[in-house]
């Protein structure tokens, strides 16, 4: 039986995917995700209740701040909670992937310096963990909407499409920050601020139609944020609201660009990581 011959050369181009083995990336991401889940609620009192408690608290906070204090209203007479919570699970997913995935390389530098495994597995493992929470939160919303509106339909393809958009956009951002932070940890210092900015600029707690009063002609700039398309997408799927604004393409293109460039960035950093970390 002849065995596979691997070759490594100083002249290998970093984007060369000849030795790229997605199965391996996935199996290691899976192992890390398992570790995270096993460790997740170690030494907590309420344990797994937090999988439900976290989205509930986030929802409650948004309700208090944006509905009761700021008094934002949903369009077309839709109930505010139904409207705002439609895109909340996707935001929580995005936030979780970025917040946990970005520092994952720096946090695991000890393992990185000793074992050669595909580095992308670390940020990717956070996606696997995040998906579990996303599933729980989406199910909670599905039931909430059903009880409130009496509507129990579920558009599988749209749901999968917008979920994938969330994952790819989040991964793209995460790959970028994770890759750069192996050299410049400054990026980890401003990460919470970045997340906060992204939240405020995303139409989660308010409708994207509010954008129209800002920036005038140049409104497309706000659509550079992929969360805009994702958020509008989830609303259109749960609530059959109007989706298309001519600028929304910008968001979809950004999802694609972010992911591809992030992938390139982390591949580039991967080769130098052990020397720079």
């Amino acid at each position: 039986m002849s065995k596979k011959i691997h070759s490594v050369s100083s002249t290998d181009f970093f984007l060369n995917l000849r030795n790229y083995d997605f199965k391996k990336v996935y199996s290691i991401a899976y192992a890390f995700a398992r570790r995270d889940l096993q460790l997740r609620y170690v030494q907590t009192r309420l344990g797994w209740f937090w999988s439900i408690g976290q989205p509930l608290l986030a929802a409650g906070l948004i309700l208090i701040v944006f509905s009761w204090i700021v008094k934002i209203q949903a369009p077309d007479g839709i109930d505010y909670s139904i409207y705002a919570f439609a895109s909340l699970p996707s935001w929580l997913l995005m936030q979780q992937i970025i917040l946990q995935g970005s520092p994952s390389l720096v946090h695991n530098q000890h393992i990185i310096s000793k074992v050669a495994f595909p580095r992308q597995a670390l940020p990717l493992s956070k996606v696997l963990v995040g998906l579990l929470d996303f599933g729980v939160a989406s199910l909670m919303y599905y039931v909430f909407r059903g009880v409130k509106l009496g509507v129990w339909d579920f558009m599988v393809f749209d749901f999968l499409f917008y979920s994938s958009c969330t994952i790819f956009a989040a991964l793209g951002i995460t790959y970028w920050i994770a890759a750069i932070s192996t050299r410049f940890r400054d990026w980890l210092a401003i990460l919470p601020l970045l997340i906060q900015g992204l939240f405020l600029l995303s139409p989660i707690a308010y409708p994207s139609s509010r954008f129209s009063s800002a920036l005038g002609e140049n409104i497309w700039i706000l659509y550079l944020n992929p969360m805009v398309a994702i958020s509008d997408g989830f609303r259109s799927l749960w609530l059959k609201t109007e989706l298309w604004n001519e600028n929304i393409y910008v968001s979809f293109i950004m999802v694609f660009l972010l992911f591809v460039s992030g992938f390139i960035a982390i591949r580039y950093a991967e080769n130098k990581m052990v020397d720079t970390l």
Partner: protein, 385 residues
């Protein structure tokens, strides 16, 4: 060039350049090497000679700056025992994690789980406990057990045999022999334990300042290595030695016998000087006296001797008094380590060479003639009553 079937790894013109504060230095240069499938190769060299860099490149942790290499089949590197272990996870969960990191899938791990646990010798009640409750010895045993059961055509092993207690070390050693001879693995082995290296690897390479200077019979390579290191070192001025490890908070600056002629059975004083920045607490100096063949013979340690001053000045001198030198005629060399509060501050291999000029250990006794290094132990001969 063709890559013939009996070759496991072929290395061509491999080099690695590092940039340090705008100046560049080559950690590794022009390495050409072919390793036969099913053989074991030892790598010998000082700290900083490029051993770790070579292993890092071969295991895929870092990219070479020049050249290339090819290998056949799967390759796993074990640079550390228990990498990826998490204190809050149980023994079993840590086995899965560590093995997965080294490229094993869950099915394979499941198949080998009972073997791994058995090899580690960790009992049923402990294997389901978080490993933060393990002793350090147990963690090491678990780590090596995982490493020993990884399926791979090529294994790169760095110094991991130097773990655990004596009996477990021997178990690991036998396991390595088994991997090579029975399983037909190709093994690249790095160890400061030249004795183990010679036993495991028929062939070895010598790395000096990033270059491969010799390739051949491992016994000869080890001899050359020791001879070169002994001749090239300035013994009186340890402070100029660069090939040290450790945090650097304390440096050993001197290690020298005060006694001029060393004879077996005669008294002698070993003088040590050290330099640090702050007063030292819980400080320990450990010296290993090794024979000419690299085999460890005697420990000299403050803590082993229950000498534990509560504080010591930042810099100073210390002496070891030996009433009767126990070593037989021959050449010896000493490794020295300085440890403060459990942290290794300085680690110098082959810090000092000395020669014992023979003599009798017991007054009136004969000199025990042997070409090998050896240590006398005080004992008595009696007729049974």
């Amino acid at each position: 060039m063709s890559f013939s079937d009996n070759i496991a790894i072929q290395i061509k013109n491999l080099g690695k350049k590092y940039y340090l504060k705008s100046s560049e230095s080559w950690a590794l240069k022009n390495i050409d090497l072919s390793i036969e499938a099913g053989s074991a190769l030892g790598i010998v060299g000082h700290n900083g000679a490029g051993k770790s860099t070579l292993l890092k490149i071969l295991s895929g942790l870092t990219k070479p700056s020049t050249g290339s290499f090819k290998y056949r089949g799967s390759l796993t590197s074990l640079l550390e025992v228990g990498t990826g272990f998490h204190p809050d996870l149980s023994g079993i969960e840590n086995i899965y994690l560590s093995a997965a990191l080294n490229g094993m899938n869950r099915k394979k791990i499941q198949k080998k789980l009972s073997q791994i646990i058995e090899f580690s010798g960790i009992s049923e009640n402990y294997i389901y406990q978080p490993i933060k409750h393990y002793s350090s010895g147990m963690k090491v045993r678990l780590g090596f057990s995982v490493a020993a059961h990884i399926d791979s055509d090529i294994l790169i092993v760095d110094e991991i045999l130097a773990v655990g207690d004596r009996s477990f070390q021997e178990k690991c050693f036998r396991n390595m022999q088994f991997q090579i001879n029975q399983n037909g693995r190709t093994v690249i082995f790095v160890s400061h334990n030249l004795f183990a290296l010679k036993e495991l690897c028929p062939k070895a390479i010598l790395l000096e300042q990033g270059e491969l200077t010799q390739f051949g019979d491992s016994k000869k390579i080890c001899e050359t290595y020791i001879r070169n290191s002994l001749s090239g070192i300035s013994y009186l001025d340890l402070s100029k030695r660069k090939d040290r490890k450790g945090s650097g908070e304390v440096r050993i600056t001197k290690l020298k016998w005060k006694t001029e002629i060393l004879e077996t059975g005669k008294p002698a004083i070993l003088h040590i000087a050290y330099e640090g920045e702050e007063d030292l607490k819980d400080f320990n100096i450990k010296i290993s006296i090794n024979g000419e063949d690299g085999r460890f013979l005697s420990p000299l340690s403050m803590h082993s001797n229950n000498f534990r001053p509560t504080t010591m000045p930042a810099s100073g001198d210390i002496e070891i008094h030996i009433e009767k030198l126990p070593w037989m005629k021959g050449k010896y060399y000493a490794d020295i380590r300085a440890i403060e509060r459990g942290i290794v501050c300085d680690d110098l291999r082959m810090a000092y060479k000395f020669e014992i000029h023979g003599g009798n250990y017991i007054q009136g006794g004969d000199e025990f003639n042997s070409k090998k290094n050896g240590v006398f132990i005080p004992h008595e001969w009696n007729f049974p009553k």
